[in-house]
Symmetry: C2
Subunit: 228 residues, 2 copies
DNA sequence: TGTACATCAGTGAACGCGCGTTCACTGATGTAC
DNA sequence: TGTACATCAGTGAACGCGCGTTCACTGATGTAC
């Protein structure tokens, strides 16, 4: 059955609440998120929000899950291309990661920023959502691996022990080494983006310049991963 | 003239305030730092703190400057060794960075975490302090460069434009390419450390395993920077 | 199409809390003679 | 060595503020006959 008018309006209001929350986060930081602030911005009173979320923590959880989904979707979208060459595809996913971070600062800080004081993510909800976006990074590398073009590493016992939990978490059955490459690849991209977003790479954030820095760096990163 | 008793006690109290603040930050996050909380922990009342700091922001600024100094000192200390080989020295500075982050979580989140809501760092104070720790990273690479063993990159005009402001900021007169390598080197280390500290690399933080992951990664990073 | 009732969205007042900061004060520590 | 005074550390009450959350309520929207 199709949604009633009331259900539709309700869904729209939920979206508006989330959107307003994101705006507030990107302006003042995730730690300063407040129901009263959201309500005020929406021209409502704070108790009204309890019609839509059981508590502030509930809202935060929803925002975090949304953020992971959004990132995963952005990464997936970057691979929907005719492009065949692996290096360009890897490059595309890395740039998509950065672009997403730059255009979704609220979501980025929810996921990768300092945890919100007095908020504790419910176990089992946020974990799988997090895995989802990492899977997208793995998918790209797995394609390279399937073509036999990925430079695999020997793994020490300690490393294997660390990587094994990821197998189940990601549901990826390929070699551990692919997971390892995905993680280090991710870490490098993340390091650049994280420094850039927090203003550590430049006083005046002229994104164009940092973009070229990012691209050059990812470029040489990719070269080193491919064998040929 | 040597400090009076009162001056000595005063300095000790300031240290205790800062130390208590750091404990509070590492427990609840930098955003939840509160003068009242610090005072309570010290068995004092909040207004007493105004004898030592003009405001909460003043305290935060002091903590940030201290943090940068502490990081710079840790990096510098890692180079005080008889060791001559460049790769081991680079490795040592990278590991010192990670070790510092793991043992100084409060300081780390002050510097690299999400900015504290409603706090604005005074210009001119925090910037130079930040440069100080990056200089330590450059020093290590510069030594390699002086021995002609550093793989330098060609720099695009856009990249040069982005790197130039750093010259003055760091007071480093060597080639821009060394700065570029230091920045990307830093970003990679930072990415790994940042993900590790925020629990994105492992659910159960078994630091030993992640340590081996880190070392392997930095190791191959170093190999690629050296020519020979 | 009209009426009676149930469901739901949103209000406004109130709760207890912790926050940064001010102010007038008390008592202890240091200094000058 | 003793006294008078200045300096400083810390207190306790109070300020205004914003927070999450509860509660009883009003009106509007939907549903059943």
């Amino acid at each position: 059955m199709s949604p009633t008018r009331r259900e539709r309006v309700r869904a729209e209001t939920i979206d508006e609440i989330k959107e307003t929350a994101r705006m507030q986060i990107s302006k003042n930081g995730a730690a300063a998120l407040s129901l009263r602030g959201i309500a005020a911005e929406m021209g409502m009173t704070a108790p009204a929000l309890y019609r839509y979320f059981d508590s502030r923590d509930d809202l935060v959880t929803a925002l975090i899950v949304d953020a992971y989904k959004s990132l995963a979707a952005a990464l997936a979208a970057s691979q929907e291309t005719e492009e065949e060459s692996h290096d360009k595809r890897i490059m595309a996913s890395a740039c998509a990661y950065r672009a997403w971070a730059l255009t979704h600062r609220a979501e980025y800080s929810l996921i990768f920023g300092t945890p919100i004081p007095n908020y504790h993510a419910p176990v089992g909800i946020t974990g799988p959502a997090a895995a989802q976006s990492l899977i997208e990074l793995i998918r790209v590398l797995d394609a390279v691996y399937q073509d036999g073009l990925l430079t695999l590493n020997e793994l020490s016992p300690a490393l294997i022990k660390m990587l094994e939990p990821w197998v189940e978490k990601l549901g990826y059955t390929g070699p551990l080494s692919v997971i390892q490459l995905a993680l280090t690849n991710w870490a490098k991209i993340h390091g650049l983006v994280s420094l850039e977003l927090n203003g550590h790479l430049s006083d005046v954030p002229e994104e164009v310049n940092i973009g070229s820095f990012f691209e050059k760096e990812i470029c040489s990163l990719v070269e080193r991963m491919l064998t040929d």
